[in-house]
Symmetry: C2
Subunit: 625 residues, 2 copies
């Protein structure tokens, strides 16, 4: 088993090595001439100077008559002036002012007195109601400096200034070579071991936002010669080449060797997490980047390295990313070995913006789809404390983050279903829901980190749900539980119940999959263990924790576990057998001051609507809360 080790080059150093080299080899943009009518969004190469004035002639600014201003002097209510035919010319807005005239009287100010005579009762001054030559743009004026990105109105100004064609930076073509024996094109029916190739689609979207075009090459197996040939072909057709996956130091990771043999290997391994196994090199004057296969690592490398490469091509400073100050909701531990990129969800609750770290696994693409922003923890810090104010790079506009209903707590698919109905109804806000269990809801609502959260907390002494927990943990009367749904909890087992599980005590003889600490379902599990006198040590898989009902169901369906507690709708989704254990009260804990918040109201209105009850019936296992 061959194994090499990666270097651990600090990010800034890696960037400097690459940009120095690219500058040295003269990496830069080609240009092309395009019609200004098609140039919106393009970057111009040189400053654009107006070729003509706009207006390019003296134009009437009104519908009316052109006159010699002097001929109107002295006109007043008591001293009207009459213009004879020849003293004026009828003009519409935009018409040229005929020779000899220098002002316009508005049609509203004219009194027709017959035989073509017009009476006026106020004078005009020279050039009044005339758009003089160059009022908007003067010939020779710089309309836009070099490297300006053309906006719609700038395109208009260029055309107004007589510029019909313009030299723009040709968009760089970035070739993407997906590699790997296990990689297959997108499918809904992959075989075991097949890895669906979706990184190139993510790259295409990101490259588009950088201003680059993407050419995706066929999937190339883990064969050094084949990958080298693909790189050489891509180099002949593209400005930048990305080799997707194979950038680490495993048996089948050839990117660094290929770059080393065809050109100059600059960096292999960057001190960032995720994103470490990246390769930076230059072949034939063009950057060749080995991008890690894990999607989250890949996105970080795309953003930090490939985005910079595209900017270098354009010769333009990279636009700064929008950031916001936020209060970190949960402690982050980080390593001195890396600069770490932590995806966070953001919420503005009562004035302050809080940032909650999301899952940190490099394979979890959903941590990026859910991320409102990224917190960069510098290499020289071991972590960030909860409550600390931090700068967050925004992934979506701030006003979108501010118009977000934040639901943090127990998982139930109904939350997504309500969100979907809200979206369908055109609600002017989005819902961000995070699954941290019922106790998580209690803390998040109490600490002002969420508007509301789902809870189903069984008081094992009274048999009542939620009340005693709220009394214990929520100070004063600052949050209240409102009606949600009733739902059935039960044991989920594979179809046909192969182990013949009948009641909770039977889990002793099976591989169990548990929920995380603080989840209402975990509390139920622990209560049942106690009731049946079972010690957690007796349960195989007690420490195997998942965060959602569907995740538990998925593991049972896959055979990783035999049994787990969950709600009926999850069992139904995975075609599992379901042994009901209890009916529970799933409520929403809502911060009192947000009870009348329009987002909260809209959420509850959908939840309580008849249409939604029909949807709950479809999902199964729900009753009136």
């Amino acid at each position: 088993m061959k194994h090499n080790y990666l270097k651990n080059v600090p990010l800034a150093e890696a960037k400097a090595i690459l940009s120095d080299r690219l500058n040295a080899v003269g990496f830069s943009a080609d240009t092309q001439t395009v019609s200004v009518t098609d140039a919106c969004g393009r970057v111009i190469k040189d400053a654009a100077y107006a070729r003509i004035c706009s207006p390019h002639y003296n134009a009437s600014a009104m519908d009316g008559v052109a006159v010699k201003a002097q001929s109107t002097f002295g006109a007043g209510e008591r001293t009207p002036v009459t213009l004879a035919p020849g003293d004026y010319a009828v003009v519409d807005t935009g018409d040229p002012i005929p020779e000899g005239f220098d002002a316009v009287i508005m049609v509203e100010d004219l009194i027709e007195t017959g035989e073509g005579r017009l009476q006026i009762i106020s004078a005009v001054y020279p050039w009044q109601n005339v758009r003089q030559v160059g009022e908007d743009i003067c010939m020779g004026d710089m309309i836009a400096p070099s490297f300006t990105t053309l906006t719609p109105s700038l395109c208009g100004a260029l055309l107004a200034g007589g510029i019909t064609e313009i030299e723009v930076i040709k968009k760089p073509v970035v070739g993407v070579i997906p590699t790997g024996d296990e990689i297959v094109p997108p499918t809904d029916d992959p075989r075991k071991g097949d890895v669906i190739e979706f990184n190139s689609t993510v790259f295409k979207g990101m490259l588009g936002s950088f201003g680059a075009e993407t050419r995706i090459y066929p999937i190339t197996p883990d064969d050094k010669e084949l990958i080298a040939a693909a790189v050489e072909k891509a180099l002949s057709e593209c400005d930048v080449v990305l080799v997707s996956a194979g950038s680490s130091a495993g048996r089948d990771d050839y990117t660094s060797e290929i770059i080393d043999s065809l050109g100059t290997l600059l960096v292999h391994g960057i001190a960032i997490k995720p994103g470490k196994p990246a390769v930076l090199g230059v072949i034939s004057g063009k950057p060749v980047i080995g991008v890690p296969g894990y999607p989250v690592s890949a996105i970080v490398i795309m953003d930090e390295i490939v985005g910079d490469v595209v900017s270098m091509y354009y010769g333009k400073a990279r636009p700064e990313k929008e950031t916001v100050k936020a209060t970190l909701a949960k402690k982050i531990v980080s390593s001195l070995k890396y600069t770490e990129y932590v995806r966070v969800s953001l919420g503005r609750i009562g004035g302050r913006i809080s940032a909650s770290p999301l899952a940190r696994g490099a394979g979890v693409i959903t941590s990026f789809t859910r991320a409102d922003g990224v917190l960069i923890v510098p290499q020289d810090r071991e972590g960030v404390e909860a409550g600390e104010e931090v700068g967050i790079i925004l992934n979506r506009p701030l006003h979108e983050i501010e118009n977000t209903l934040i639901i943090t707590g127990s998982h139930d698919p109904l939350i997504d279903e309500v969100s979907d109905r809200l979206a369908k109804n055109g609600a002017p806000f989005r819902v961000c829901s995070t699954h941290v269990g019922s106790m998580g809801a209690i803390y998040a609502v109490r600490d002002g980190l969420a508007h509301m959260g789902g809870i189903h907390l069984l008081d094992t002494e009274t048999g009542e749900y939620n009340k005693s927990y709220i009394k214990k943990h929520i100070p004063g009367d600052s949050a209240v539980a409102v009606k949600g749904v009733g739902r059935v909890q039960g044991l989920m087992v594979r179809k046909g119940n192969p182990l013949g599980i009948r009641s909770f005590s039977d889990i002793r003889n099976a591989r169990y999959v548990n929920r995380q600490r603080g989840a209402g379902t975990r509390i139920l599990c622990d209560h049942l263990l106690k009731k049946y006198g079972i010690s957690p040590d007796e349960i195989e898989g007690y420490d195997n924790e998942e965060f959602t009902h569907t995740a538990v169901a998925a593991l049972i369906a896959a055979g990783n576990a035999d049994v787990g507690l969950g709600i009926y709708s999850a069992a139904k989704m995975y075609d599992l057998d379901f042994i009901p254990v209890c009916n529970e009260t799933y409520e929403f804990l809502i911060c009192r001051k947000y009870l009348e918040d329009p987002m909260v109201r809209a959420f509850l209105e959908v939840l309580y609507s008849d249409g939604f009850k029909a949807r709950l019936n479809e999902m199964g296992g729900y009753s009136e809360g």
Copy 2:
């Protein structure tokens, strides 16, 4: 002369009338199915649920060997465990965990002891280093609710969840019909009276940003039948039709009549400025909008009305516009007759953001190209006082506005030239320069509204430039003048000097074009008038004020005036004759606390560079400052 009058419907009412009608006729989107690999940026119609788990099998998270976790229990430094062939299987990252195994040991933690035996000195727990089924996405989970705009990472998540095709909202096709006898396609050589058709290009760019496609129809002359035929053709091919120009109430404005005869005319005339002469109607269930011909009015109607129409088509709430709080730098007077849209430039100087109103003419497209934002003055307000805090809708990202060197003061083309060099050098900031004359520079720098400004203020008593003005107006030592350039001021006259102007006193016999009050050149003019004993009343055109040297030159070249004061480079640009009057000292007044600001330093470095001196020589009329 036929003349109708427009109605003056408040904007909110006009919007409600249109949206009620469009709802009533069932105006809404078509959909289409696209490959997820091509779906980035598209809006999905329905919620997307994962069809498979991701990972869809138990995958090794590391390069190493798969084992049964139980077989490693008890392994320690003093109690190593040896795995025989058959106890393990070699796996790379992403490989499926073979049947019977449930954990992975990293390659780094293995010691080969020969004959295929591997020694380990620490145990693994079940599912350690394994990405279990559904770790990222569980089958049945909602990946995105209805109407989500797909980001690159969402496309990745959809593919990971086994979704290869998806139903998205078909982009609406918006037909644009440019109308007008005087309208010509873009050219650099228009005849007098020709109006260059650039609005459709502006619309295309804006429509693209709204998520619509644009189909531009040929220019149609002011003929009711021809325009009606064009509207009917466009209606048969598009989802929305815009008739560009002809929306007012003049002789040749047919849009409202055509809508009235083919469908339902809803609104003609909206109480906004600019943008009043707009027409809203519905024909065959599709919106038909008459957009005013003046570009600024057109942009306001596009933004307020057509943007809403596209959102209605999508059935999605329109994204809120980003706003910022700013202090108004100059009083605005507005009318109770209109909601007024005032374009402003924004600058952050020392913590606070100030907004300076730009030119308000409806024909001035450059007021939009220069605008950083828009201030909406509600209909019920007569204006806004200087110093008032106002909300500004941003036209560019806030961080771009914050990275802006603000130069406010006397006009000289060299400022644009320096900006261009900075852009070419990849400077990470932009320059915003406003021409308000030398006295404007004094006030702007004094009041913290600009980092710096050009000044050339002649002290008529001492003959010295700038010093006495700074002493008088700048408190303490808070701003200093730094070296700029020397430049020649003179009289500009048409080529061949047809009126035989020799010295300043000759302007008595010519039509003069002046500069605005507060301009250094205006102060020079007034000084010379005094010196020669000429009263301003004697000068025809003394009240004809322009804001730049090029604007003065353009009017002389066009024949609107015979003579004006200006710098040599402007005369040269317009091929005018130039009679030198004096050499002046053009300096930059800089707020002392910004003397070391990196943007200010970078500006001066370029200005003082040898390369730039060569450029000044090309422009002509400059000397060492």
